[in-house]
């Protein structure tokens, strides 16, 4: 799965949860902890990537792109460790 696919899945989840539309992948996200934790759970369940407290920095999750980058990075690390 590439970055754009991941960003698109996250976009769909966040739009559905917040009832707001996101125009661009680099758009500044203003999501609260409810949606953020749902996103983390979704990433684990649907994308098979487990984020833990070492990676989480709520204030750094500024856009779909940064979220997708983190997921991709974590997926690569997990693949290398396997």
């Amino acid at each position: 799965m590439d970055k754009a696919e991941i960003a698109e899945k996250l976009k769909k989840l966040i739009e559905e949860d917040t009832d707001k539309s996101i125009e661009r992948y680099d758009e500044k996200l203003d999501i609260d902890s409810y949606t953020m934790m749902l996103t983390i759970t979704f990433v684990k369940e649907e994308l098979g990537v487990e984020l833990d407290m070492d990676e989480l920095d709520f204030d750094a999750f500024t856009s779909l792109n940064t979220l997708a980058d983190l997921v991709l990075q974590k997926a690569k690390v997990a693949a290398l460790s396997a």
Partner: protein
């Protein structure tokens, strides 16, 4: 020493010129000495506590960073947390739990005489212990390198503008600023001075004057009349904001004139559109601390529980979110003080937040002003619980508003309401413009004539009508 006292003015008049003259490494050493002098002015005996907290976390962080063994790392971060919470627990909560235990035993007919420590709460302990704990946790999570120099780290813990009542800083934000030279610009000095004097205005003119309306109502033992209670609660909502945000603005302003950026702690919380938004605007440094170090780990722990695995994802998320929120908010409430009403304050907000997410789609479609008005009033109910001396008093007062609302002849309802409005009119006006422009410094960008008039007016009101009786800040008791 209070920031708006003559004692502090004398202190700062010595510290600041020295700061400007010294190179940055010596600035750090001078600031450390000044911070210990500042803290020792409250009570010199407290210096040993802050030193112990500093030493423990400095050493724990060094040991955590020096090893890659997970068990050793976990041991030292656990030691740091236990040491800090033990210190906090002994000074802040021991007597409360001893008394509660005595009461509980008395209720079942047993007489116990626990030992009471009867010690005063060391000022600032709730703030600096949390600040140092976040440091060791961030080193453990590899978000931050451990500070090599003990004195630099000691300054991070004791930096006097934010030592007594926050903002509760993070190592990732404040340490890098300590570890490099600061550049002070004209903008830093202007903005810093503005924030400092705005904070004085909030505290001395608004908060301390409103306290005269609030205190007699909450000091009464009842029965209560709803009219009085309602006015007192609204007045308290403004008092606590102006008192605490006032302190934060002064602290941030002092940091800024030294070229150090402390984190924003209040962002016009009474303009929140929902209760979740309120906690992203009120005491931001504390709520984000509990989000990062209590709520999130709890959520992860609950969500990964095997018993919940069978549930659909969104339901599992909902259960984990609610339980983690309940724990985090209860502890956040309890952080404020040793009293069951504080814990209940936290639980009240947890329930409100959960209810908001349950009806979020409908709530968010309401008119924005209605959202703000409802959120403000929900927050005020929380303040009633918070300010009351006990849960019983909070309940009696709450009932009086809805079941015994009366306006007694001797209550000058219009006069008191006008006083509240008069004291807060400038604040509300400025905050409307701040919110429209999303800019804390909007006043400084107005035309010269307009901003000079406003600033002179604020200064004159503060000097003429401010309460310079050195009433302590509300959050000093936490």
């Amino acid at each position: 020493m209070l920031f708006h006292s003559l004692q502090f003015a004398k202190f700062f008049v010595v510290v600041y010129p020295l700061y400007l003259l010294l190179p940055w490494r010596l600035q750090n050493r001078m600031l450390l000495v000044a911070s210990y002098v500042f803290y020792g002015a409250w009570d010199w005996r407290y210096l040993s506590l802050i030193f112990i907290s500093t030493a423990v976390d400095y050493l724990c962080a060094m040991r955590i960073e020096a090893t890659a063994k997970p068990q050793t790392r976990k041991t030292f971060v656990t030691f740091s947390i236990v040491a800090n919470l033990t210190m906090l627990g002994v000074f802040k909560y021991y007597d409360f739990f001893a008394f509660s235990f005595q009461e509980m035993m008395a209720n079942v007919g047993l007489t116990v005489r626990p030992y009471f420590l009867d010690v005063a709460l060391p000022v600032g302990i709730s703030f600096y212990t949390f600040q140092t704990m976040s440091y060791t946790l961030d080193v453990y999570r590899r978000k931050l390198r451990a500070a090599e120099n003990f004195f630099d780290f000691a300054l991070y813990v004791s930096f006097f503008p934010q030592l007594i009542a926050g903002p509760i800083e993070r190592g990732t934000r404040l340490l890098p600023q300590i570890l490099q030279p600061r550049r002070i610009t004209r903008e830093h000095i202007v903005n810093g001075a503005y924030l400092f004097f705005w904070g004085i205005f909030l505290k001395v003119f608004i908060a301390d004057n409103l306290a005269r309306i609030v205190d007699p109502v909450f000091a009464a033992t009842g029965p209560y009349d709803g009219g009085n209670v309602l006015l007192a609660v609204y007045a308290f909502s403004l008092q606590i904001y102006c008192d605490f945000a006032g302190y934060s603005f002064m602290a941030i302003g002092l940091g800024l004139v030294m070229g150090i950026h402390l984190m924003e702690n209040f962002r016009r919380p009474y303009f929140s559109k929902n209760i979740s938004d309120f906690w992203r605007r009120w005491h931001i440094s504390l709520s984000s601390w509990f989000r990062d170090y209590v709520f999130s780990p709890f959520y992860m722990y609950i969500e990964r529980n095997k018993r919940l695995k069978r549930l659909p994802m969104k339901l599992r998320h909902g259960v984990a979110f609610f339980l983690a929120l309940l724990v985090a908010e209860y502890l956040l409430g309890f952080w404020h003080g040793a009293g069951w009403n504080f814990g209940f304050f936290g639980v009240y907000h947890a329930i409100l937040i959960w209810l908001y997410y349950f009806i979020r789609n409908r709530w968010d479609r309401m008119n924005s002003y209605l959202q703000i008005l409802l959120t403000y009033n929900l927050a005020c109910i929380g303040w009633l619980i918070f300010r009351a001396a006990s849960l019983n008093q909070a309940m009696d007062m709450f009932v009086s508003v809805f079941a015994n609302f009366q306006i007694l002849p001797e209550l000058d309802l219009a006069g008191t309401a006008l006083k509240i409005i008069a004291f807060s009119a400038v604040l509300i006006t400025v905050q409307v413009f701040q919110d429209l422009k999303n800019d804390t410094f909007v006043v400084l960008k107005w035309p010269l004539v307009v901003r000079s008039t406003i600033l002179v007016f604020i200064g004159a009101m503060t000097i003429a009508f401010g309460d310079f009786g050195n009433r302590p800040f509300i959050y000093f008791q936490f």
